[in-house]
């Protein structure tokens, strides 16, 4: 029996904006792929590159890090730090052979449920196109 490939997506969502945005998507009964597993973090700045690496090591196909829009961070500047960190990590992962498309950093506010649903659909579609990560 062949099982259709379904990408595994891990989403690190910040407590103040993106998690609430995902909540809006849910409560408004918007349809989006269930491939995403959501982990709530206090801030996108809390996400250590180690978390992302660990996800990929344990078989994730894609990782989404999402926080408040620049300027809207609950802790004033966490998302700016995250932006620098992941801009560099993305290039580095690509260099090591993990396609840069597999890591995304996006800004989703607490009211952007629609945007969150579209984002997850788009990301899942892109990962589907890339196919499974070559196993070690």
């Amino acid at each position: 029996m062949s099982v259709e490939y379904q990408p595994k997506v891990i989403g690190f969502l910040c407590n103040w904006c993106s998690y609430a945005g995902a909540d809006v998507a849910g409560t408004s009964r918007m349809d989006y792929p269930h491939n995403i597993r959501i982990i709530r973090v206090p801030c996108s700045g809390r996400v250590d590159p180690l978390f992302v690496l660990k996800c990929f090591q344990r078989g994730a196909d894609g990782v989404l890090v999402s926080g408040c829009h620049p300027g809207d961070c609950h802790y004033t500047e966490g998302n700016y730090h995250a932006r620098r960190r992941f801009a560099l990590l993305r290039e580095f992962l690509d260099y090591l052979g993990i396609a840069k498309e597999r890591l995304r950093l996006e800004w989703v506010s607490a009211s952007e449920g629609q945007r969150f649903a579209e984002l997850v659909s788009d990301f899942t579609a892109e990962l589907n196109k890339l196919g499974p990560r070559s196993k070690i």
Partner: protein, 288 residues
């Protein structure tokens, strides 16, 4: 061997110890094979007679300052190692007035092993452009004229041009050989966390099994922790017992940090490192 340079180092070390300016001098001495060299900790004037400096003195002695924080020490520092001093000053790990830097002009280092030294310079020395240490209290031997022979990042751009699948295969083969002896960490002047993430048990970030996956996690995060901090002394690669080309990781990050944030570690002890700061309006082609 430059006897005049060595005499200058010995004289300076002796007078520093005699005057009581420092408690000890960290330098190099001839190893017992008569060819290579090893670190020397000189605490009295008789020991200073064993100090040497030549093209085999590859060790970055700045690492030892981290274990001697309570004592005032003098240290023999090559131009590349001097960036490590700036890094540790920047990060508040050492105090400027507690160290005495004996800078040396450096002719470039060769590969050494027990009873062996190569004829050619190490790769990092072939592209080195520092003629003298960036920070010193005393300069022995004066400046050396350096003419960089090759572009610093040519091997990186070559590796980047490979296909994604080839890069993956290459690195998994490299990481597959890692025995996780952590020599790369122990020798690195930038690796001084009291508890390394690799030794945390709760949560267990890096599994105990020595597998390519676990090694990849270790090597990736190790080099990422040094992003914008690696000063390019390349000691990690020198001590690696299985010859993993770690400089390809460290210098890739150095190159990207230069491109993205216009920053290079260890050049200025006052400049803010890239991950300690940010610009609100910067465009990083990510998270727009």
């Amino acid at each position: 061997m430059d006897t005049e340079l060595i005499q200058q180092i010995r004289d300076k070390a002796r007078s520093l110890l005699a005057e009581g300016t420092v408690e000890g001098v960290i330098g190099y001495e001839r190893a017992s094979d008569g060819i290579s060299s090893r670190p020397l900790f000189a605490y009295d004037s008789s020991a200073t007679e064993r100090l040497i400096f030549d093209e085999t003195c590859a060790h970055n002695l700045v690492k030892y300052l981290l274990n001697k924080k309570s004592r005032k020490m003098a240290v023999v520092v090559k131009p590349c190692d001097s960036r490590a001093i700036n890094l540790l000053l920047n990060e508040g790990q050492i105090e400027r007035d507690k160290i005495f830097v004996i800078g040396v002009g450096c002719p470039g280092m060769v590969e050494t092993n027990w009873n062996y030294k190569s004829e050619t310079l190490q790769a990092k020395c072939r592209s080195c452009q520092l003629s003298k240490p960036l920070v010193y209290d005393f300069l022995a031997g004066g400046e050396f004229e350096r003419q960089a022979e090759e572009e610093t990042y040519s091997d990186i751009t070559e590796a980047e041009a490979e296909s994604l699948a080839n890069r993956r295969e290459f690195w998994l083969e490299q990481f597959g050989r890692c025995i996780r002896c952590y020599a790369c960490r122990q020798v690195c002047p930038g690796c001084y966390c009291p508890v390394c993430f690799a030794e945390r048990l709760e949560p267990l970030w890096v599994g105990i099994r020595i597998t390519p996956e676990e090694n990849e996690l270790w090597q990736t995060i190790r080099s990422f922790h040094l992003a914008g901090r690696c000063i390019g002394c390349n000691e990690c690669e020198r001590v690696c017992p299985v010859d993993i080309p770690l400089s390809l990781l460290n210098r890739k990050l150095e190159k990207d940090v230069k491109e993205l944030f216009a920053f290079q570690a260890g050049l200025d002890p006052e400049e803010q490192p890239p991950f300690a700061t940010f610009k609100k309006e910067e465009k990083l082609e990510f998270g727009e």
